[in-house]
Assembly symmetry: C2
Amino acid sequence: MFGRTFYNGEMTEEHIGQEVSLKGWVQRRRDLGSVIFIDLRDRTGIMQIVFNPEISAEALAAAEKVRNEYVLDVKGTIVKRDPETVNENIPTGTIEVHVTEINVLSEAKTPPFMIEDGTEVNEDVRLKYRYIDLRRPVMFDTLKMRSDVTKTIRDYLDDHGFLDVETPILTKSTPEGARDYLVPSRVHPGEFYALPQSPQIFKQLLMVSGVDRYYQIARCFRDEDLRADRQPEFTQVDIETSFMSQEDIMQMTEEMLKKVVKRVKNVDITGAFQRMTYDEAMNRFGSDKPDTRFGLELIDMADVVRGSGFKVFAQVVESGGQVKALCVPGGGEKYSRKDIDHLTEFAAIYGAKGLAWLKVEEDGLKGPIIKFFTEEEQAKMLETAGAKTGDLIMFVADKKKIVADALGALRLKLGKELGMIDETKYNFLWVTDWPLLEYDEEEGRYYAAHHPFTMPAREDLDKLESDPGAVSAQAYDIVLNGYELGGGSIRIFERDIQEKMFKLLGFTEEQAKEQFGFLLEAFEYGTPPHGGIALGLDRMVMLLAGRTNLRDTIAFPKTASAADVLTNAPGEVSEAQLEELHLRIRQTAK
Amino acid sequence: MFGRTFYNGEMTEEHIGQEVSLKGWVQRRRDLGSVIFIDLRDRTGIMQIVFNPEISAEALAAAEKVRNEYVLDVKGTIVKRDPETVNENIPTGTIEVHVTEINVLSEAKTPPFMIEDGTEVNEDVRLKYRYIDLRRPVMFDTLKMRSDVTKTIRDYLDDHGFLDVETPILTKSTPEGARDYLVPSRVHPGEFYALPQSPQIFKQLLMVSGVDRYYQIARCFRDEDLRADRQPEFTQVDIETSFMSQEDIMQMTEEMLKKVVKRVKNVDITGAFQRMTYDEAMNRFGSDKPDTRFGLELIDMADVVRGSGFKVFAQVVESGGQVKALCVPGGGEKYSRKDIDHLTEFAAIYGAKGLAWLKVEEDGLKGPIIKFFTEEEQAKMLETAGAKTGDLIMFVADKKKIVADALGALRLKLGKELGMIDETKYNFLWVTDWPLLEYDEEEGRYYAAHHPFTMPAREDLDKLESDPGAVSAQAYDIVLNGYELGGGSIRIFERDIQEKMFKLLGFTEEQAKEQFGFLLEAFEYGTPPHGGIALGLDRMVMLLAGRTNLRDTIAFPKTASAADVLTNAPGEVSEAQLEELHLRIRQTAK
């Protein structure tokens, strides 16, 4: 092998005349009889290399046997291309390398699909031949961006005194939360480790240890049925600090994320991130992670329809429900009755029993329900909606949650359809003042809205027992373009509050002690106030790389059935292995 | 809480007069009646804070209730200490803070042991209260060094174009190698994932993908019975490159390790690392990871004892064995007959049937076996050993392996006992030209000396079938002060060589295809020559931090029975969890 002088995408006209040694894969080969042109590809780009008998008959003869995806090692000289062979589609298109020597390092069968960005290949094939899929520039660039994102985060946190501390992967099963992956112990018969769903407990223990500032880019695991945007193992940027306020943590996170966007997108995000309480987000956008790149906000019509002749609306308001609307600019013409029927079906997915509508025409509001409203009510309706001629107003009247879910989803759908979203924007948003608990009506019990270690608002502490549903949390989510990037909170650091919290979540005293006794005990040996945040790295990279699939941000992802089709994992193991682990497969399994 | 202005160890006399806000743990409290002194500790050090009625009667009253390990939040002014209260043992010993306001953030029970470096505590107690153990400065400093080591490595590799790529933790079981940790699949009944013993296959696939330069600070897992220097999960600095030679990889690794030592020890390592072949290391030091900080090398006595009157030695040489010696400077006086009996017992652990010895006195060699040697032989013996009056020469005569093991171990023991080791040295050493295979006489088969993916020396390829035991590997280990820091190799990248290798290791064609078929197939789509190295991070930190125990380099380590005594992992899981995983515990397990 020759020593490499350049990557293929690195050479420019400045290097003309230089002797170089290049390595790479054959992207394309054109045999013009007496001359052979090869596009030689590596992770940086493409260089055209030229074989002809005047330069080296021997090299030309070798190049005749070369096919796509062969790996070559060549020596030659950089020259300027003839004007008629200039390729303006690639940065190196004005130069080429005239090859004097060649080693064919590796031959290649015809790959199952072309190595190019636009290729339309079934994802199963891409995953089975992942090593070929990753040769496509868009896939390499995403891996590169992921590496750049984590490096930027590490640089920032290291500069700010954070220690990168590794926490265990073989840890303890804690039934609260999602389903654990379990690992049978050979040494302790019948016992199991669990893979961590997050390093939550360990990072809190590090705060008790006085580490003061901790971070980890941590692998986490959840054995859940997979959706498009879930993976059994995922990575989170995990940060915890002592003695810092919610405000401190938010400002630091902002500064760090700005550096990331600057580094990988060269975009300056100026000013503080927008902030909004959970209630405001739900009221204005029908979502706890609103996409603020466009308006089309939810409009409260309660004051307009209260006591009106349209009993369906009036009764919902009277019985404590909501009547809200979207005012779709220009929607009156764009959406036919049939279109609106489809939108009604869409809203029904989110529980909406109907989707009432009115169009704003030159001579006023039109539509099936207009007859129920007085002229005065119609004028108030137009004013409240800020509606103009040509707009379409769509109403959902129902319980608060259904109104939010249905109109929130409809808003996103219409925003996309109507091209209201500026795809070049990076709209970061903090959502604050979350409820501490969520009540599950079916199970008749409370769940932690974030997790059981989140500190209640100090001023709500006395409501913990009397009115737990009304307690706010010292919790904050960071949202980017309508996706939850991550979330954090100030943690409970007092044993008595933590015990109350476990009790609210239905733990008996014994259960709390059995599962989290060591944490409760740790709190008694001098614990600093602490809090932190966790950011989903896979999703962050997905959004920054402009991908729509988390799998594209992971080198070797799993399919929707949690399988790795490249290596064939999971797989069967031997009876001897099972015996060592004191396990049998249940008969029903086979 | 007040906003922190300084960490406790950061203030100097330059800051005298400043109003500050400090946070920390009470290391020590001295109540002199009208004045209370508290040593306030955080991760950077200690600041003496002073409460007296002239500054604030209220703060003094609060300080009266404070005990060790309480967490405090104080405001006050930095002042110069009275000369008689200066503490020269700490960097901040000439100043103190006069406290005007105090918040007691957290109370504390009396900790189970003192927070100080020299504390002699049972390790089980330290592990159970790990969050207290990590408060000891030496423990924090080790965590900090670990973070600094990885940051330095990441900076170096990022600067050199390496991508940090995460590979899966849920992967496939490969019975070759150590025992896997298994993870039952819920979705695929009766099937299991395995936790990776290393990212070997994935990093090679990344090279097939054209990633060109990969690294990862990767968690790896082995379910082995633990020794003092093993953990079920450990971390390796994992590096792989394409198109680089063994020489390139070694030089890059050297440069990187020099930066690490400079960063965390402020030591400049000048010049290239020492290099030695495997054969030379075994011959001179009786070890494949010699500690080169001292001499005491093995001396080959074959030419001296061949044909001598001492038949025990002569016969060993004749039958193809070895007779080697250590010449211990000044050992003649230091080691009594009884001491030598103990050394003989020690050598027996390594299989040596005896330990013959001679002392060098003013009037010549003395000892039980001297009568078997002629004067000429004695003179030659002295010359070969380079022995001086007062030295002790100890012999082992046996098979090559036993001679190396016994004298290698004895050399280390004596080197330590005699204070021959300069503990301030960082002696890095490359050991190269390893054998490709090791023959297991009991099982009558070959094992890979490194792993099955190591490339044989090109010039030995024709011996792969005819004389596999004589084939050298393109493999290299990096040794630091007698510990193996890591190892690497150039990999096989041709399907036919890889298939031959699997066959040598006893794989049937079907087994090779079943376990590694995807890799063999990948090699057919254009694979660059590639190679890399893996360094053990835990051990690197242990050596750099001057610790003797790998557990001290890991925030939350496991015990020798692979248990986490802090969180009580592993533990029992519910019948429902087992059922979901299609498993039963074997009755014998309970």
